[in-house]
Symmetry: C2
Subunit: 277 residues, 2 copies
DNA sequence: TTGCTCCTCACGTCACGTGAGGTGGC
DNA sequence: TTGCTCCTCACGTCACGTGAGGTGGC
């Protein structure tokens, strides 16, 4: 049997069939053929493209390289210049970037999950009418990545230290997109100056600090960053009236911010502080 | 203090500074400004773009959405039409696709790792001169995803069952890009017909079958798929001569194939079968 | 004045996707 | 003959990247 005969026996799939079997788009196969990256085994006398089953492996390999972010020009080099040592080096050379990219995507996915959760908690508070009252709520534990202590100077604005926090954490390599909150050492320091938190933190799944699970005194307020209104006093009054003793820091988190709300005056913040049983 | 004054106080970063602080490219920021997705807080009298520190959060959020594959048109909708319920739904709606994409990337990364490892083992065999001899080697355990048994009919070609294996595993949703091998029930069935394996398998980290770690009789041969030359006899002879008893299946794996080698006649296959201690 | 940054606008690029207009196979 | 697939070629698209040519700030 001649080589040509073997070829025409093996090459049995039209472009549509091959596209279906490989999950590729027809136009992608045509494009790969055009640039000489991957071509059908033979062209029929009618100029049709005919692919062979064992070409699936090759096209899958190209797809994998493409998913891993390898540019077609490099893939062409790979295909044209095949030699085990060179291919191995080329593959190994891409691993660092790929792993970093996967990390980024996973971080981004976690972030999107947290953001969605926070927005959901804000909606729930709105729906339950908790928005304007102080209440006791069970809260689950959460990991936080905490910044250094803010030493506020006289008349210093909220944003100057906020900017410091961002640029420091950026230098330290944190993915600064995670939601940011402010914390106060305890309820009395919160009441004393509720607009300038002692520390900023990221709500970050890999944070070292753990806000423990338990019963929290929870209140909400609307307004732009650093504008906590009279929330601190309302929480303090509630604690006094109900003879509740608070323990640990006050956590301020924006449930609705520029991500989910257009007007800054409608940003929704939640303050929470743990109570002793 | 007027709103304008507050703005000009906050907006202190030029486009280059803001690009540095956010890790974005200048041209990206200009592009986002142009299409109205994200603009600097103010424009100076000189028409310069001036960004504020607290805009970092917003641009980071856009970057995250972009990493997660959200098209800019959708992001524009998100930004223009901000309402907690809508944003939450939109984010939740993207999770399925994102998670699938992360899975794909992780699979692809694992695959690239396995391929690199196989190529490396081929290079090692070449360098050590093991290519033309039979030897006893320690091999580590490896996970395999095994296909159904091949019932070869008279004169049936290697590729027909190979095609069946590919299309069946494709229907079952396996990522068909993982390296494929062939296995034989035992050494005698391998000797009987070394070109038509009893089963095909994927070298797949999530496979159920485990090729155990241990001492293996190992041999190599060069040639296209299904062409095993006299390797089976050489292994059998070696076992007889050295009075080695083999146990379990014979595994055939291509260490060098179309991925790393240009000429099919140079594909490098390794056959291995476990020996009793 | 020099070197640096900033601006706009137009065009380039990367990896395809989408018709238009025409042919081939059952 | 009809409906379907295939072909080529040109142009569109998406998210920027890259100069060209000119202005502004220290």
């Amino acid at each position: 049997m001649s080589s040509e005969k073997i070829k025409s026996k093996e090459a049995s799939l039209t472009i549509s069939q091959f596209a279906k079997v490989t999950g590729m788009h027809k136009s992608t196969l045509m494009y790969y053929d055009k640039i000489g990256l991957f071509s059908p085994l033979i062209r029929g006398s009618n100029n049709y493209r005919y692919y062979a089953l064992n070409q699936i492996t090759a096209v899958n390999q190209i797809r994998v390289l493409s998913i891993l972010g390898m540019p077609v020009k490099v893939m062409q080099q790979v295909v044209r210049n095949r030699e085990p040592g060179a291919i191995k080096k080329l593959l190994e050379g891409t691993f660092g970037e790929i792993d970093a990219q996967i990390d980024w995507m996973q971080d981004s996915r976690k972030l999107a999950g947290i953001v969605t959760e926070l927005i959901g908690m804000g909606i729930e508070a709105e729906n339950n009418g908790e928005e304007f009252i102080i209440s006791v709520k069970k809260m689950k534990s959460r990991r936080l990545l905490i910044g250094r202590k803010n030493e506020w100077e006289r008349d210093e604005s909220f944003f100057s230290k906020f900017g410091d926090f961002l640029s420091i954490s950026m230098k330290e390599g944190h993915n600064a997109a995670f939601p940011i909150g402010g914390m106060f050492e305890n309820l009395s320091s919160y009441v004393e100056n509720s607009s300038l938190p002692d520390r900023f933190f990221y709500i970050h799944p890999d944070g070292k600090h753990k806000r423990p699970a338990g019963d929290y005194l929870v209140g909400y307020t609307r307004g732009y960053y650093g504008d906590a209104g009279d929330l601190a006093f309302r929480i303090n009054d509630y604690a006094a009236k109900h003879k509740l003793e608070t323990v640990g820091p006050v956590y301020n988190v924006y449930l609705h911010d520029e991500i989910s709300v257009a007007s800054p005056s409608n940003y929704l913040m939640r303050a929470s502080v743990m109570i002793k049983p």
